[in-house]
């Protein structure tokens, strides 16, 4: 099995799906000739032509709107937002139209659209290139929000998203693109959307997280193992709708739960995870549910020490796990 990077897994999934289904096409800013600003769509215009890899004007609302229209017409568009920070002009299209058309038309119409967007900080991107936007969509029935952490999950989940008959927001952590590598089978496979994945078994403390923070938790767990602290790690993979069953069983496993997100703390998706645990796991809890998250400030700062202060890192996760273990 080949070891490839997170972003190569994106490209591979797109390429395979385009080859399998001629209805799949890509649209977005600089996705064609340039191959994407992160090179996620590199080589695709050469292979599939400019009718299937379309460079669009700098208009996120139109990218989403064209995608929705084409999807309703029977195509399987994959729209790229160059940065998740710029998805906001398209939010009206996504929430008011894409998420609701199946309900509104009593099943006559549906929107098999995938919207990919790189999110997250730690790349000196400052305020307009570092945000986490998942919470905006995590309260909108009709949408699915997928946030994979490993190349294997990226490929399996992106292919599943493209084949899904309803809109999927597929958020890729931009710092993970070239930082995270892993084994990815070359054959065709999909992973179920809405299913979390245990990334490490343990019995002292449960960490529930997603995206890049999964790797920080894995590193922290590795280190803490030498101190005799055993960490259980659940990767949500899909943050909306949440995999309640997996969350409940992971929380019950140890009774001490740490929730981690890079998003601002208040109103983030881990707050919902915490609510599920509070509702379902009271008599298995051995400590208060803890959240480790970004501070409640408007944006990721540019200055490196301040960016470090904002970002989650393995040391912060390690400290939080140790405190819970000692409780």
């Amino acid at each position: 099995m080949a070891v490839i990077s997170y972003i190569d897994a994106v490209t591979q999934a797109l390429k395979e799906e385009m080859a399998l289904d001629e209805n799949v096409f890509i649209l977005g800013e600089d996705v064609g000739v340039r191959g994407g600003v992160f090179r996620a769509t590199a080589g695709l215009i050469e292979e599939f032509g400019e009718n299937r890899v379309m460079d669009t004007p700098l208009t996120e609302s139109a990218i989403a709107g064209v995608g929705i229209g084409a999807a309703m017409y029977g195509m399987r568009p994959v729209a790229e937002m160059q940065f998740a920070d710029f998805i906001l002009p398209a939010v009206n299209q996504i929430i008011s139209e894409a998420a609701k058309i199946r309900y509104r038309s009593n099943n006559d119409w549906h929107v098999p659209l995938t919207i990919r967007a790189p999110y997250g900080g730690g790349v000196h991107g400052a305020l307009y290139h570092s945000q986490s936007v998942e919470a905006i969509f995590a309260n909108v029935p009709g949408l699915k929000v997928v946030m994979p952490s490993t190349p294997y999950d990226v490929k399996g989940l992106l292919k599943a998203s493209i084949r899904d008959n309803d809109p999927v927001i597929f958020l890729e952590h931009k710092r993970a693109y070239r930082l995270i590598k892993g084994e990815v089978p070359e054959d065709d496979y999909t992973l179920p959307i809405g299913k979390a994945d245990v990334k490490r078994e343990g019995d002292d403390v449960t960490v529930i997280t997603y995206g890049l923070a999964v790797h920080f938790a894995l590193q922290a767990a590795e280190k803490l193992e030498n101190e005799g602290i055993s960490t259980h790690i659940l990767d949500l993979r899909t943050v909306y709708p949440l995999d309640k069953e997996a969350i409940i069983s992971a929380a019950k496993k140890t009774g001490k739960v740490l929730l981690v997100t890079e998003d601002n703390k208040e109103g983030s998706v881990i707050g919902e995870v915490s609510a599920i645990i509070a509702e379902e796991c009271l008599f298995d809890l051995d400590a208060p549910v803890k959240r480790l998250a970004g501070p409640d400030i408007p944006a990721m700062p540019y200055a490196p020490p301040m960016e470090k202060f904002f970002m989650i890192n393995p040391e912060k996760v390690e400290k939080a796990i140790r405190e819970l273990a000692e409780f």
Partner: protein, 426 residues
């Protein structure tokens, strides 16, 4: 490290002092801000004093039973802040003491030993484990879920009845209250075998102090009238079942008596006053304290604005306050602001009593049992009537016999004339 003082807080409006009934912490205990550190009795209400800091209890200055004015020092606590802002008190001597103490905490911290998580409680219940006997490995000696799981796995589960029985009788030594107001220590009482020593603390001590103070400071005078309440008894008996069905609680005689007393107080406001050294203060509000007894204590909660209430309103207040006393939910606020006390001594069969004034009020009235007696009527006939004695103790500094007599005569008149026509329940 900084040493901070914890002082007696103001536990209610107009509360000036509190008696420490029980310490909840010991020196060396690690505590968080807002954790309770001691139980304090003020004006017959128990309250918990929260810690104002996070840190380790260093020294307990005030002992149990001691009465402190608001702002007096209770204990010292060592906080984790830097020594610079030792705003309080660390002179050189204090510093040296700090350093000595630093070596001490080799002792195990067990402050979290009895904080059980839901998981621990459930497992203990399901497996019949006596948590008292389990050693915790968590922070502050907390018993963790894992501790219990390991115990269950080992099969060595301590059951509740494994516990060695405590020695039958522990000689109870209650620290002597160093209450300045107590005039003299009681003479030494010989204790014979079989006698039971009951430690005096909390509410009991507050009652004792208040009674001594009232008897000592207020010269008590006493008077009594007998009242023919046959009409009232008939009236109340006619309506009591309907009332109970409608309101859900009983209509006793007490609200009628309170109503009559309140009417009397309106006409003779001097009875509704207080002695203030160089002046007498006639209170505008009429707030009636009512005595409510429990098995081992007496509480005097207050019906505020009694002059604004109907008989039903008074009945409701009496019912609520009595319920609060019985369920131990009385707050400091419920106890404050009384201007005159009505004591329902008849409820336990008394026909004559000499109540002690609820200091600093000017008078207290007790309502005795209603009994059937032969009475010579105005026309010379003898009839069986429902009679009741009303006893009044008064502070003779504030009141003289004349005004007290007129007040009682008026109350008597109101009560004897109660009937369905002129007195509405609602």
């Amino acid at each position: 490290m900084a040493t901070e003082k914890i002082t007696m807080p103001q536990l209610g409006e107009s509360v000036t002092e509190g008696t420490i009934s029980k310490w909840l912490v010991e020196p060396g205990n690690e505590i968080k801000k807002y954790d309770p550190i001691a139980e304090v009795t003020t004006d017959k209400v128990n309250a918990e004093v929260p810690s104002s800091f996070t840190g380790v209890i260093k020294e307990i200055v005030a002992s149990e039973g001691e009465t402190l004015a608001v702002g007096d020092l209770m204990c010292y606590i060592e906080t984790e802040g830097s020594g610079d802002d030792t705003a309080a008190d660390t002179s050189g001597a204090g510093k040296a003491e700090n350093e000595n103490k630093q070596e001490a905490p080799a002792e195990k911290d067990t402050s979290m030993k009895k904080r059980y998580s839901p998981a621990v409680l459930r497992l203990a219940q399901e497996n019949d484990i006596d948590l008292e006997q389990v050693e915790g490995t968590g922070k502050g000696g907390r018993i963790t879920r894992k501790d219990i799981l390991k115990l269950i796995e080992s099969g060595n589960v301590p059951k509740p009845d494994d516990k060695p029985k405590e020695e039958a009788v522990k000689p109870q030594k209650q620290p002597q209250a160093s209450d300045k107001k107590e005039t003299a220590q009681p003479a030494s009482v010989p204790v014979a075998p079989g006698d039971v020593e009951i430690p005096v603390n909390g509410v009991r001590r507050a009652i004792a102090n208040n009674m001594v103070r009232s008897k000592h400071e207020a010269p008590h005078a006493w008077t009594m009238v007998e009242v023919d309440v046959t009409n009232l008894v008939n009236y109340r008996n006619r309506v009591k079942n309907d009332f109970k069905n409608k309101e859900g609680y009983s209509l006793t005689f007490l609200p009628f008596f309170i109503k009559a007393v309140v009417e009397g107080l309106k006409e003779f406001p001097r009875l509704n006053s207080m002695w203030a050294g160089d002046k007498i203060i006639e209170k505008k509000e009429i707030n009636i304290s009512i005595a409510v007894a429990t098995d081992d204590a007496l509480y005097v909660p207050v019906i505020k604005g009694a002059d604004e209430k109907s008989i039903k309103g008074l009945a409701k207040s009496v019912n609520e306050l009595a319920g609060k006393v019985r369920s131990n939910r009385l707050t400091g606020d419920d106890m404050q602001g009384g201007t005159f006390t009505v004591n329902n001594t008849g409820s336990f069969g008394s026909v004559l009593s000499q109540p002690i004034i609820n200091y600093p009020q000017a008078a207290i009235l007790s309502v005795e049992s209603i009994v059937k007696r032969p009475v010579v009527m105005e026309n010379g006939m003898i009839a069986v009537r429902d009679m009741v004695n009303l006893c009044l103790s008064l502070d003779h500094r504030v009141l003289d016999g004349l005004v007290a007599g007129r007040f009682l005569a008026r109350v008597k008149e109101i009560l004897e004339n109660i009937s369905e026509d002129n007195t509405s329940i609602y």
